[in-house]
């Protein structure tokens, strides 16, 4: 499955029903490995009962899959206790639980201008409703946040640092480890948004110094939509902002305080967890390093190809300047991003995402908010060099078309 260095690309069969060039993997990975579809279908048909709620054998089998997925997640994030791998609906859900459960009135928080609205909006809500003071650290022209600047913003009343591991607009992977070390020394919680990196680059709790890692299941982890979660380091106790059914010790009036029940409420998303289990199993087989190498190789072709087109501006870092993932944003001179996206879709059958990508501060910093955002292309394990070459060729044609119009 993994080719040698002469051909550093994964060679994965693309399901024929896809019928297009899909370059929107930062929104959701597509297609999923065939094993994921098949496992969800088979498991839910044969074992689709409520896990952990009853004592019959099938219920225990369902619970076993849930526990097994916690173990996979715990190992995946370098954790120590599978019960601290908790399931949520998605990364936004996990980040809301973590942010509102850790930060309160009078606290100070440090975050960055690379954040997604899943961090920006909860923090803004806390700022307006509870007077939480937030420092938003900017990024340089390549798309990197200076970790020393983040550390320099820590105060005695800093409760947490909220950081995007990789920008969903620029694809730059941030140097989190120095921030994590500083946070540990000062008793500040580092909450990491690994939405774009989990399954693409290694995300190890202790190496990064993170107290909480929030992730979604439907991107790099190759699961379906509607499943996400977080891993909470031992010793970190997130205040509960919800309460409800756990399936165990129902007589207790207060919601249970031990993990995973502490952060889980109501019947879990069993088909989602099954898909996440299959996605993680597939990832462990193929290897995160192989996927990252594949996407980087494609990214270089894409970046160099687009940068060479007159009238195209590629945002953020250039090849070899720092760690990144297979995500890239660009604009075509005098074209609105949405128009480029529509042309790519209709005339070239290429899927991308245009606009602000739910990350408005990034675009405000780039100045692209004034032109309604950028065009984002994002790669996945099922993309090929041919996909990238066709995308570059299509953008070149769009850019030349615009020049012809201007000349006329």
């Amino acid at each position: 499955m993994w080719c040698d260095s002469r051909n550093p690309f994964l060679d994965l069969a693309i399901p024929s029903e896809v019928g297009m060039i899909y370059l929107d993997n930062a929104a959701t990975s597509f297609p999923k490995p065939q094993e994921v579809y098949e496992f969800i279908d088979a498991f839910y048909r044969k074992t689709g009962v409520n896990p952990g709620r009853s004592g019959f054998d099938l219920c225990l089998a369902a619970g076993s899959l849930v526990d097994g997925t916690r173990e996979l997640l715990c190992a995946f994030f370098g954790g120590t206790d599978p019960n601290r791998a908790v399931f949520t609906a998605n990364a936004t859900d996990a980040l809301n639980l973590a942010i509102f459960g850790l930060v309160g009135r009078g606290d100070h928080v440090v975050s960055t201008r690379l954040e997604h609205n899943s961090v920006v909006r909860p923090l803004w809500t806390l700022h307006e409703d509870a007077g939480v003071d937030v420092d938003w650290v900017g990024f340089d022209s390549r798309g990197y946040v200076d970790s020393q600047e983040v550390i320099g913003r820590l105060r005695p009343n800093t409760r947490a640092v909220l950081m995007n591991h990789a920008s969903n607009v620029l694809g730059t992977v941030q140097d989190v480890a120095p921030v994590g070390r500083a946070c540990r020394e000062r008793g500040v919680h580092l909450v990491l948004d690994a939405s774009q990196t989990a399954g693409v680059v290694p995300v190890k709790m202790d190496e990064l110094g993170a107290d909480v890692v929030c992730f979604t299941g439907h991107k790099g982890l190759m699961g379906p939509m509607g499943i996400g979660g977080m891993y909470v380091r031992e010793g970190v106790e997130i205040h509960q902002t919800r309460a409800g059914g756990t399936g165990v010790r129902s007589a207790e009036r207060r919601h249970l305080t031990e993990y995973p029940f502490r952060m889980e409420y109501g019947t879990p998303n069993l088909p989602g967890i099954a898909g996440l289990h299959a996605g993680l199993t597939w990832l462990n087989h193929v290897g995160v390093a192989a996927i990252h190498a594949h996407e980087l190789a494609l990214w270089r072709i894409l970046r160099e190809g687009l940068a060479a087109i007159p009238g195209v501006t590629v945002h953020g870092q250039e090849s070899g300047q720092g760690e990144h993932i297979g995500v890239l944003s660009f604009n075509v001179d005098r074209f609105e991003a949405a128009d480029v996206g529509t042309l790519l879709d209709v005339d070239w059958n290429i899927a991308c995402r245009t606009g602000l990508h739910c990350a408005p501060l990034v675009h405000e910093s780039l100045g692209t908010d004034r032109i309604h955002g950028t065009v984002r292309l994002s790669l996945g394990p099922f993309n090929s060099p041919e996909h990238v070459e066709k995308a570059v060729s299509a953008v070149a044609e769009i850019a030349s078309m615009r020049r012809a119009r201007r000349a006329s």
């Binding site: 529509t342 042309l343 879709d345 209709v346």
Partner: protein, 107 residues
């Protein structure tokens, strides 16, 4: 501030972005005037009218703008060609000339 378009002795309301407020105000003369004032087109060719009538027909039948892909399929024109015909593109250009309100999402 309300915008108006003066056409053949009529005073027609336009939105802030220059789209007709009342689709019923539209006729071929209005289309020519919108094409000239909004898109800088001194003349509408048969290709322009094919796109305009396609979009207008969809709108009158369904009260919403058609998807771009449907326009391309029905007119047998590439989207690239539609952009060449209407410099502001299918949504801000062709739909405006066809007398539609500003489309949300599709087109």
């Amino acid at each position: 501030m309300m915008l108006f378009l003066e056409c053949s002795g009529r005073r027609l309301k336009l939105s802030d972005e220059g789209f007709l407020v009342h689709a019923r105000d539209w006729d071929d003369d209005v289309a020519r005037l919108l094409a000239r004032t909004a898109e800088g087109l001194d003349e509408l060719t048969d290709e322009h009218w094919t796109v305009i009538r396609c979009i207008r027909g969809h709108y009158l039948a369904r009260r919403r703008a058609p998807q771009v892909r449907a326009v391309c399929q029905e007119t047998q024109l590439s989207l690239k060609r539609i952009y060449e015909l209407f410099p502001s593109g299918p949504a801000k250009g062709a739909c405006k000339v066809a007398g539609l309100p500003r489309p949300d999402g599709c087109v």
